[in-house]
């Protein structure tokens, strides 16, 4: 029964194969380099087409510049903003805010996660309170934060720190808790204890989980910063875009959005690189390296 089905199923496929096979074969034998180039260019076909369509729509007036500027205008805006140095100033201010917020919130999350992960007493004392706070979205605190800190730097720093705190905290906690008990037992029976045990066994064992937390929080870092800067700021990418909105400079608004996208991507690439280096012993990373 099974055999009959498989034979029937194969027949049309076998019949169809020569046609496609021959077509693919001739071009492949004609120029393998071209073939490879085509395979690499294909994924970019749709974005390029969209860009061209968008450009055309703007040129022919189907799309108002108030809705969306033409791509070329965005490119020139990017160029002029970057040439004048204005854009770099805003990028530097935003990056500074993001990183200092990340350092404070991530550092606290790491420290508290290590503490509650390592000490049962610290867990019973702190963990349930922190889990309750975790369920409050940081952005929901904006009205309160404005009342507390006004609208200057402290408010943004606070929001970003709060946003990045929980992913780092939770993943550190679970990372420490899930370190293989067998390895700890082995290390203890081989004479390791105290700080040596912590540094050589527990921390490296928790590292994969901690880095997952770091990647999560890097994503959140930009999201929270964008909102915080959009509400009120005297500088930064958010300020630049909100200012441009006042003057209907949609091209500058788009430059701001692109900058956020690029910075977010950059943060992700960096954290991936960090993971790849620190976890190079991990089978998953070795498989990718090969």
């Amino acid at each position: 029964m099974n055999q009959a089905v498989s034979i029937q199923g194969e027949a049309p496929a076998a019949g169809a194969k020569p046609a496609t096979g021959a077509a693919g074969h001739s071009s492949l034998s004609a120029n393998p380099l071209l073939q490879r180039l085509r395979a690499q260019a294909l994924p970019w076909l749709v974005p390029a087409a969209v860009l061209l369509l968008w450009e055309a729509a703007s040129r022919f007036g189907w799309l108002s510049t108030r809705v969306l500027p033409e791509p070329w205008a965005v490119a020139t805006a990017f160029w002029s903003l970057s040439a004048s140095g204005e854009m770099w100033h805003h990028v530097a201010v935003s990056t500074g805010r993001a990183l200092s917020g990340f350092a404070i919130g991530g550092g606290l999350g790491l420290a508290l996660g290590l503490l509650t992960g390592s000490l049962r007493s610290a867990e019973t004392l702190l963990d349930s309170s922190l889990q309750m706070l975790r369920n409050i979205p940081p952005l929901a605190l904006i009205p309160l934060v404005i009342l507390w800190f006004g609208i200057d730097e402290t408010a943004k720093l606070f929001l970003v720190s709060l946003g990045v705190f929980f992913p780092v905290y939770i993943n550190t906690f679970h990372g420490i808790r899930n370190v293989d008990a067998g390895l700890i037992e082995m290390a203890k029976s081989y004479g390791l204890s105290g700080w040596a045990l912590y540094r050589q066994v527990i921390l490296p064992g928790a590292l994969p989980s901690i880095l997952v937390g770091v990647r999560f929080s890097l994503g959140l870092m930009w999201v929270v910063l964008i909102v915080a800067e959009t509400i009120s700021a005297q500088s930064g990418i958010g300020y630049m875009t909100m200012n441009a909105r006042e003057f209907l400079q949609t091209d500058v608004v788009l430059v701001g959005i692109l900058l956020y996208a690029l910075l977010g991507k950059l943060a992700d690439v960096l954290s991936r690189g960090l993971e790849h280096w620190w976890l190079r012993w991990h089978p998953a990373h070795q498989a990718r390296a090969r």
Partner: protein
């Protein structure tokens, strides 16, 4: 310290070849070395620790695992402990290692409490338990101190025949290679009592035989006392001076194996003892 740990291993550098299975028989015996194990161990008479268990019992809550175990192990003796799974043989080993606490009775090593000999005991687990984030060489150097830690680790690694894998990650090693590294990690501490908790249980048949030969040759070389827990009766008889059977929480059989080494599996005497022990394991109390 009673002796310099590094110095202990140095004379055996030339012994590397033995790590390669099959080479053991080919290597010419050195002058002081004679065929029988007892004499071969004589160059280092003080190496092994003696073990004395008096009325040792262990319960996990309501569940009794071991009851009134009395045991003497001579220095340098190789003792295998067999029994059905869950009979408490691993628990006995973990008690000796100090990984579990006694419920009753006392364990003494060379007449002293366990805690005094922590540094002299090393444990080999069923799974190799290598730290995946340390390279092979650093896994072996785990817990070693001093300038020459890496050098000693390298020596131990060459004794198990893996000198060329020093800078590999444990993840790329095979199961047998991981256990070799774990063996080197135990040996580098120059233990006087080596506890082996089914270290070959997860290996394929050929690798097991290789590892058995390696363990035997290193035991003869270093003269430590060895306690091997295994569920494989033939493995126990191939390696041990004495085979203990644990059944119903106590030592049900204490069988001497007085056969020349290395023992071949086809040997009729080996087969006879194996049959005897197996009969006893398979619950025929009158057989012994």
């Amino acid at each position: 310290m009673r002796y310099a740990k590094g110095a202990m291993l140095t004379p055996h550098l030339e012994f590397e070849g033995l790590a390669v299975p099959g080479m053991a028989e080919a290597a010419p015996p050195r002058l002081h070395e004679v065929a029988t194990p007892r004499q071969a161990r004589q160059p280092a008479p003080a190496r092994g620790l003696s073990l004395q268990a008096d009325d040792v019992g262990k319960s996990f809550g309501e569940r009794e695992v071991l009851r009134a175990i009395d045991l003497r192990v001579e220095p340098g003796e190789f003792v295998a402990i067999v029994g059905r799974s869950g009979c408490g043989k691993s628990t006995l080993l973990r008690l000796v290692a100090g990984l579990e606490t006694l419920s009753s009775g006392a364990l003494r090593l060379d007449g002293a409490p366990l805690a005094q000999h922590r540094e002299d005991i090393r444990f080999m687990f069923q799974d190799a338990r290598l730290l995946p984030w340390k390279r092979v060489i650093d896994n072996i150097a785990l817990g070693l101190t001093g300038q020459d830690a890496r050098e000693r680790a390298r020596e131990a690694l060459s004794q198990v025949g893996l000198a060329d894998r020093a800078n590999d990650w444990p993840a790329v090693l095979s199961g047998g290679q991981r256990q070799r590294v774990a063996l080197a990690r135990a040996l580098v501490h120059a233990p006087r009592l080596l506890l082996l908790d089914e270290p070959l249980g997860a290996l394929d048949a050929l690798t097991r035989i290789e590892m058995q030969r390696l363990i035997e040759s290193l035991w003869r070389r270093h003269g430590f006392t060895a306690l091997l827990v295994t569920h494989d009766v033939s493995e126990a008889i191939a390696l041990a001076d004495r085979v203990l059977l644990i059944d119903e929480h106590r030592v049900a059989l204490d069988q001497r194996v007085e056969l020349a080494r290395p023992r071949s599996r086809g040997n009729a005497q080996v087969a006879a003892i194996e049959e005897q022990v197996l009969q006893r394991v398979l619950h025929d109390p009158r057989a012994a």
